[in-house]
């Protein structure tokens, strides 16, 4: 892959890492959120739903600004972290946060659609067989919403690979440090002669998401209902 400069390779590596970490970190939260939304009834559910879907409705740039306000040294979370000696802004972790927030609604929605189609009778069956709610959760609900979880993860991974607007604000666009593929592409399309390289990076992103897609299909088939 000699066409790529070292910083391009950094960008590819970083993008993969960011998308992977963002997906993995969000998964448990996304699952819990989907579970709560599907199986629990409580007040303020709609508010929670709106909050989860916010990152979808708002342009990524705005998300970026909001995250900057939250995580920046004047933000309440950033302030706390600052005192603990942790700085998130302008690190690759910031890119993870941005990707995670932007992809979260996709993840939750996918898992929910899967969960909603679980046959109530199976949950009943597991309960009469002595499974507590957490047991039912892990042995019935998780396996039966695996399709949704997988779909959601691969959506989120893909979305993370393409995340630009929020990332450039909170993580900055520093080659070799926080420059992910979309940011590198952005740089290239902004240079008069960068088109070829931009295209090459696009192809890389496509190949990466292709890989995830294959994995998804592969596991999806394996994990689908047994014969």
């Amino acid at each position: 892959m000699s066409i790529f400069s070292p910083t391009d390779l950094d960008a590819i590596g970083l993008s993969t890492k960011v998308a992977l970490v963002a997906t993995l970190v969000s998964l448990p939260f996304g699952f819990v959120m989907a579970y709560v939304m599907t199986f629990r009834r409580f007040r303020g559910k709609v508010l929670l739903e709106v909050a989860v879907n916010l990152p979808l409705t708002l342009p990524p740039v705005v998300i970026g600004y909001l995250l900057l306000l939250l995580l920046g040294k004047n933000g309440w979370l950033g302030h706390l972290l600052d005192q603990a000696g942790i700085r998130i802004i302008f690190t690759w972790q910031a890119a993870v946060v941005a990707s995670a927030v932007v992809g979260f609604p996709l993840l939750v929605r996918s898992i929910r659609i899967g969960m909603e189609s679980i046959d109530q009778r199976l949950i009943h069956a597991s309960r009469t067989l002595g499974a507590r709610w957490y047991d039912t959760l892990f042995t019935v609900i998780v396996p039966l919403s695996l399709q949704g979880i997988l779909a959601g993860s691969s959506l989120m991974f893909a979305r993370s690979l393409g995340e630009f607007g929020a990332t450039i604000i909170v993580a900055g666009n520093i080659p070799g440090v926080t420059q992910t593929i979309p940011l590198a592409i952005f740089d290239y399309v902004n240079s008069p002669d960068g088109e070829r390289m931009a295209l090459a990076l696009c192809m890389t992103a496509i190949v990466l998401s292709l890989l995830v897609l294959f994995l998804h299909e592969h596991f999806g088939r394996k994990l689908a209902r047994r014969d």
Binding site: D119, R121, L122, H124, A125, S126, R127, T128, L129, G130, A131, R132, W133, D135, T136, T139, V140, P143, L144, L146, L223, R225, R226, D227
Partner: protein, 351 residues
């Protein structure tokens, strides 16, 4: 087991109003389609919330609206065979079977895996998934799954409906055997009076959401004798055959019974329908029936226009069924002596 249910539950126009207390290890529920049987056991298992009332099992309150008690299903240790198999689609047959087993604390575990699998004829299916099993195979897995949970009460909603007779009559003695041996009381729904007779000590009969009859299947059977196509079922526990020359010969009190079907187990349990007994005033000569039993009438009763005749043969009792006309003609009344002819093939081996 002592079960007390005083419950109300409405679904639109349908109203279930259960108010009974029942004791026994083997309880049957009988009632026509839509009479509220599944709803009732759903509430007992903790899956359907009653509108009002209480449920007590062995003195423990499982549910009481006024008392604010509602023990969740998973802590009632009441396993259930649902009307639809409801197997876990993502698990193999083996893991479906073991689902409850694994969740049962070891000191409660009483049912062994291997023999159960053999009785249910599931050996070859263990490593398959459950989605492509045949209807009967699915039902057998569902039965196994519930039994292996070693519950303190086993509820079964028409557990044998998808099974052929042979298999059914192999599973019934096993089920009653296991439940008897390990003291697992059970409660089951069936449309078959025969299954009731074979499996239940007490039967609850529902109609349109109300309990209309409660009693031993014997009482129920006597009352429904004239109505039911199989009449009243006499049960015989005959032990080992004492001889065999073409027919199996059994000692029954001080008499011998000749039976064509081989016993299915050492218990030598047989049933005989009241309809399969013909009564004679005098000893008939040259008759195809192999058993001719002399007995004295100890009681008679009426059921749907038939007369039930209870005969004492030594210490044992036999109930035969005749039409009124015959009762009059043969002058059947308490104290009279009669001959009862029973064909060797009329005895059906149960277990």
């Amino acid at each position: 087991m002592e079960l007390e249910m005083r419950l109300r539950k409405s679904y639109g126009p349908f109203r279930l109003d259960a108010d009974f207390c029942v004791k026994g290890e083997r309880i049957g529920i009988f009632g026509e389609s839509g009479s509220g049987k599944s709803t009732l056991i759903g509430m007992l298992a903790g899956l359907v919330e009653p509108d009002d009332g209480t449920i007590c099992l062995d003195g423990e309150t499982l549910y009481s609206r006024s008392g604010g008690v509602h023990i969740p299903a998973e802590r009632r240790r009441i396993a259930m065979v649902f009307q639809q198999p409801s197997l876990f689609p993502h698990l193999s047959v083996r893991n479906n079977l073991l689902y409850g087993y694994r969740r049962c604390s070891p000191q409660h575990r009483r049912v062994a895996f291997e023999p159960l699998v053999q009785v249910l004829k599931l050996e070859e299916l263990l490593d398959r998934g459950v989605n492509n099993l045949s209807g009967g195979e699915q039902q057998r897995v569902a039965i196994g799954r519930a039994v292996l949970a070693s519950p303190r009460l086993l509820i079964m909603d028409e557990p044998l409906s998808a099974l052929d007779d042979d298999l059914k009559f192999q599973i019934i003695p096993y089920l009653t055997g296991v439940c008897g041996r390990f003291g697992i009381p059970f409660l089951f729904i069936s449309h078959s009076l025969l299954e009731m007779r074979l499996m239940a000590d007490t039967v609850l009969m529902f109609d349109k959401g109300l309990l209309v009859e409660q009693g031993s299947p014997d009482e129920l059977a006597r009352r429904r004798m004239g109505h039911s196509p199989s009449g009243y079922i006499n049960l015989f526990r005959l032990g080992r055959p004492v001889g065999n020359n073409g027919l199996h010969t059994f000692a029954w009190g001080d008499r011998l019974l000749l039976i064509s079907a081989a016993p299915k187990s050492e218990a030598g349990l047989y049933e005989l329908s009241s309809r399969d007994i013909i009564l004679f005033k005098q000893h008939p000569e040259a008759i195809s029936a192999r058993n001719l039993l002399r007995g004295r009438v100890v009681s008679t009763f009426e059921s749907s226009g038939k007369t039930g005749v209870e005969l004492a043969c030594g210490d044992d009792r036999l109930i035969a069924e005749v039409v009124h006309e015959a009762a009059v003609e043969l002058d059947i009344r308490t104290g009279v002596e009669l001959f009862a002819a029973v064909k060797a093939s009329s005895f059906r081996p149960l277990g």
